[in-house]
Amino acid sequence: MKKYAPFLLLFILIIFPLVIQNSYYQHLMILVLMWVVIGSGWNMIAGYTGQVSFGDAAFFGTGAYTAGLIASKLGLSAWWGMAFGGFTAMAVAFPFGWICFRLRGAYFALASLALNEICRHIATIWEDLTEGMVGILIMPSFLSKIPYYYIALALAVMSVLMVQIVMNSKWGYYFLSIREDQDAAESLGINTHHYKMISLNIAAFLTGMAGSLFMNYMGFIDPEVVFSLHDISIMAILVGIVGGVGTIYGPVVGAFVMVAVHEFFRTGFFGFFKGLAALTGSEHLTVAAKYIGQAHVLGFGILVVVVILVLPNGIVGDWGKIIRKVIPMKTKGVTT
């Protein structure tokens, strides 16, 4: 049963846009698939290799701007970004990793946070190239969401497969060894700096690809969107943590949950507060409804605390624990 679950999921995902014609749900699913890609990348460097990164937006934004600039400056199709976005993100990751992998643990995480901010500022200030805060607007290639959906699905499947293949190889064992004990890893003949670089570049490549997809799909980017600390970098970490750090399907589950949570807050609990305000005519509730949409970062924070307390290994990592919690409840329900 467990063996066939991924194929079942893939089948459902393939027929999804044919069954569900509502473009809002299709939009959400495209975002979920995009986050599977980014989450898989984050999982590679942070979950498996143990080098926690707070700077995924640097790679995401680079990929997005690559696609955007190819369209706006070179006049080519932004889809060329899908070919180059991953590599430009690697071009950012390479010097960063080369220098900053001399740092360990929290210090590396802080450096990656700095990388995020540096990229955002460059994109904001270098107006000749990036148009600064004005952003880049391109014409979407397709009116329907279905082509985007299948491209995103292909990318997501590729990411999951890539992580699976890498983790079954020598590289995978080396990444895990580095996570568990860097000194021991060195004594086993593992060039830790070299393999951390490989891991980071795989992560950057996937994240950059996701960024290029985002540009093509959304048609508009600006530095605040694609280099956003909380909406990209922190969200990537949450996808990883909620789904399960260091598990192949963790980012898949995490992406579903986090996109839902993000949307839940963005719409003010699916319009619950707005409805309540209209119903009661209360002014306070109207104000609350306005702010609750912007409070999703607070919601993320609370979610992290809850997940770490209840499911420290994420949903996939603690799946056995969840099942054990649920099944006794069921049997109790039957007997009474």
Partner: protein, 241 residues
């Protein structure tokens, strides 16, 4: 044949000489004991050999090659394996995966690495524990895992850092058996040890240091009867009885 040699090894931590002008040569195939009281610099010498920190001065040679400036991972590839006094298991990996990760130092495919790992686990007597997470092993078996992992990198020279410390008497005997078995495979061993029963029974030659300096070297009997060694371990008054 001399397989390994250190010449005038010096290491300063700030103003403190942790290792001061130590030289020794190790013959191929022998068990070479390194002894000394706590803080005398034994583990520091190991860390210098495996390049965890750079030497202040001096040279290290392995198979006539100067390896002083090699990085840690290259030392392993060159054929020097080591264990850690404070064990460093890859905690959330299974025992088998720990050894597979090590085996990749010599083979490329997962299949070969698995075969080499299983064979090494069998050789070191840890095969029955292979599915267990390394962090849930008791200390005796963690020490054994350290040796197994080092052996999976197919070393020609093995540095054992207090692999017998904290073992009970029966574990001690199996540990001694294992070390002798490794020697039978043609692996040269340098062993740091506090337990005299171990070091005196298995060493071919012993090098004693105190405060980072050589105080005696020779056969186990010679070193055990050396006044400087007795003084270092028991105090001055015992040395002249």
């Amino acid at each position: 044949m001399i397989i390994f040699k250190v010449e005038n090894l010096v290491k300063y931590f700030g103003g403190l000489a942790a290792v001061n002008n130590v030289s020794f040569e190790v013959q191929k195939g022998e068990i070479f004991g390194l002894i000394g009281p706590n803080g005398s610099g034994k583990t520091t010498i190991f860390n210098l050999i495996s390049s965890y920190f750079p030497v202040t001065s001096g040279r290290i040679y392995f198979k006539d090659q100067d390896i002083t400036a090699f990085k840690t991972h290259k030392i392993c590839k060159a054929g020097i394996g080591r264990t850690f006094q404070v064990v460093k298991p890859l905690g959330r990996l299974s025992v088998l995966d720990n050894v597979i990760a090590a085996a990749f130092a010599r083979v490329q495919t997962k299949h070969e690495a698995r075969d080499l790992a299983l064979e090494t686990l069998e050789f070191c007597g840890l095969a029955h524990r292979k599915e267990i997470l390394a962090k849930s092993l008791p200390i005796g078996e963690r020490k054994r895992l350290e040796i197994t992992r080092a052996m999976a990198t197919k070393p020609e020279l093995l540095l054992l850092d207090e692999t017998a410390a904290g073992l009970n008497p029966s574990e001690l005997d199996t540990a001694i058996d294992l070390i002798l078995k490794i020697q039978d495979r043609g692996v040269t061993i340098i062993i740091v040890e506090h337990i005299m029963k171990v070091i005196m029974t298995i060493s071919d030659r012993i090098h004693a240091i105190n405060f980072g300096q050589t105080i005696a070297h020779g056969s186990p009997e010679e070193v055990a009867n050396d006044p400087a060694v007795i003084e270092a371990y028991l105090g001055e008054e015992y040395a002249h009885r």
